[in-house]
């Protein structure tokens, strides 16, 4: 039998407290969103759906939601094939320069996002992409690429490249053998990478603060501005919906990745 020492008990208590600190803020949002009170009172005096109603009936919030979903969808559609192609090339090629390219593709994770944001703002200001949909999508494609590349590279690592050679020796060209042999086997990591790119585009705030405007403002930018001015419980409702959506996507992505490994 393992003797339970006092050090062990202390360890468990400290860890439990840290976990409460991590989880509590995530859980507190939902009850606030269902509260009927105009100002924050806890526990809520009574339950109501008024903040969800205020979200769904507000044209500005709805427009921002459409922008967010459109941007996230287009980001995935563009970033996924670009990322898959890049990851495939990095894993197959023995060229020296590929290592540098690989590092370059991970730059969005290294450069502090505020620097990326104002840098893009200056470039967009010159070419007229500020406050446009293509500008917003392109920026999110750049930010989402590393997630696709990392996920697909991990998938390709467990894939035996000899299989594709076999297909090619049997007369398939490179493109066909990729789609017929390789892609089906790394499908899960491709989907997972795409989902991460989607979530990243849905949550992106700082770049949007600088480069979006007019009717093309995503949800996060409007939320940020609203939070700076006053704490409107409508944001709790939006937050609850956003959290639920990203949890569902993450579960989906990790289920796929697990099936893959």
């Amino acid at each position: 039998m393992m003797r339970v020492s006092s050090a062990r008990i202390a360890l468990c208590v400290i860890s439990a407290l840290v976990l409460v600190y991590l989880i509590l803020p995530v859980l507190i949002i939902a009850p606030i969103s269902f509260s009927s009170a105009r100002f924050l009172t806890f526990p809520p005096p009574s339950l109501s759906l008024r903040w969800y109603q205020s979200y769904f009936s507000n044209p500005a919030w709805m427009q921002a939601t459409r922008v967010t979903l459109t941007v996230a969808f287009l980001t995935v559609v563009i970033a996924t094939p670009c990322g898959v192609a890049a990851a495939y090339a990095i894993s197959q090629s023995k060229l020296r320069i590929m290592r540098i390219i690989h590092m370059a593709l991970l730059l969005p994770l290294v450069v502090p996002i505020i620097i990326t944001a104002i840098g893009i703002f200056f470039v967009y200001a010159r070419v007229g992409l500020v406050a446009t949909m293509p500008g917003l999508v392109l920026a999110n494609v750049m930010l989402g690429l590393p997630y696709v590349v990392i996920s697909v590279l991990a998938g390709l690592q467990s894939f035996d490249a000899a299989q594709e050679m076999v297909a090619r020796s049997l007369g398939m060209n490179r493109l066909r053998s990729f789609f017929a042999v390789t892609l089906p086997q790394i499908k899960s990591s491709v989907v997972a990478g795409g989902i991460f790119a989607f979530i990243s585009a849905m949550d992106e705030t700082i770049v949007a603060l600088f480069i979006s405007g007019g009717q093309y403002q995503p949800l996060t930018k409007r939320m940020f501005t609203a939070l700076r001015d006053e704490i409107d419980p409508t944001i709790a409702a939006i937050s609850t919906l956003m959290t639920a959506a990203s949890f569902m996507l993450v579960l989906l992505a990790s289920a796929r990745q697990r099936r893959n490994s």
């Binding site: 803020p25 009172t41 094939p81 990322g83 840098g119 750049m142 939320m223 949890f247």
Partner: protein
């Protein structure tokens, strides 16, 4: 093969390499070459204080995250598999909630009429609400919350690779559990400590949303200095110089750390 990477590479070149290059150029060129922007960054009080504050906050956040994260990673490493999956899931759960959502949650918890103040008043512990937010305290509490997973994951990954035999060997040689921990386990977990601390420190240096929303305008971190120079004062040169100094600090830190551990280890967790 180069053709396959070119779309991705083009996007990266156009949207991160070019913009950052532009910033660097703009910081030294304005109707002719000038180092005026850098002179201001290094001599003027506001800039200097903001950089000092940012480094102080980042250091504090890193130390607190290490102190909170180490026990959790240690526990997750020392319990049966099912429990460690549960602990790690709880750690990464907030990871997948938007940073904005969490800023809102902390405002709801910490403000004058927030959950914590109301609860403490209900218990009669305090008579006046405590100032928990719109100051440095609120910024640190929320920032640690956001960055803690970046500390726990590399720590756990490193701890998992430490062979359990070594602890048993220590114990069989008569060392107490605390002695084996400090002489065997802790030193072996140091690469994880370094990886976690680097990630947390570097991410904290560039934090924007949390200090902006929870700092109450008084905690001006470097990122806010950058954005204010652009948005309020149209000081593009000054903003660029600040950004370049911030980026240089981050790259220097990564470079120094890469001499000790592989950078994949640091970045792999993100």
């Amino acid at each position: 093969m180069l053709a396959l990477v070119s779309p991705a590479l083009l996007v990266i070149l156009a949207l991160i390499v070019l913009p950052v290059g532009w910033l660097a150029w703009q910081s030294i060129y304005h109707d002719g070459f000038t180092l005026e922007n850098y002179r201001r960054v290094f001599t003027e009080d506001i800039y200097w204080r903001s950089f000092a504050l940012t480094f102080e906050i980042s250091l504090a956040v890193t130390v607190i995250a290490l102190l909170l994260g180490y026990p959790v990673a240690y526990l997750a490493n020392s319990v049966p598999k099912g429990w460690s999956i549960l602990i790690l899931s709880l750690v990464v759960l907030p990871f997948w909630t938007s940073v904005l959502v969490r800023a809102y949650a902390w405002l709801a918890l910490l403000q004058r009429t927030g959950v914590i103040n109301q609860f403490l008043r209900y218990l009669d512990v305090i008579s006046e609400p405590l100032a928990l937010v719109h100051n440095t305290l609120g910024t640190v509490v929320a920032t640690v919350h956001i960055l803690l997973p970046f500390m726990v994951l590399p720590l756990y990954a490193t701890m998992q690779k430490i062979p359990g035999d070594l602890m048993q060997a220590g114990a069989s040689l008569g060392a107490s559990p605390s002695l084996t921990f400090f002489r065997v386990f802790l030193p072996l977990s140091l690469p994880g400590v370094l990886a976690g601390c680097t990630m947390v420190f570097v991410l904290c240096l560039g934090f924007y949303i949390t200090p902006e929303l929870l700092g109450g305008g008084r905690t001006v971190m470097v990122s806010m200095l950058v954005s204010r120079n652009v948005e309020l004062y149209n000081q593009f040169g000054a903003a660029s110089a600040v950004a370049v100094v911030l980026l240089a600090s981050v790259l220097v830190i990564f470079f120094i750390v890469s001499r000790f551990i592989s950078l994949d280890r640091v970045l792999g967790q993100k």
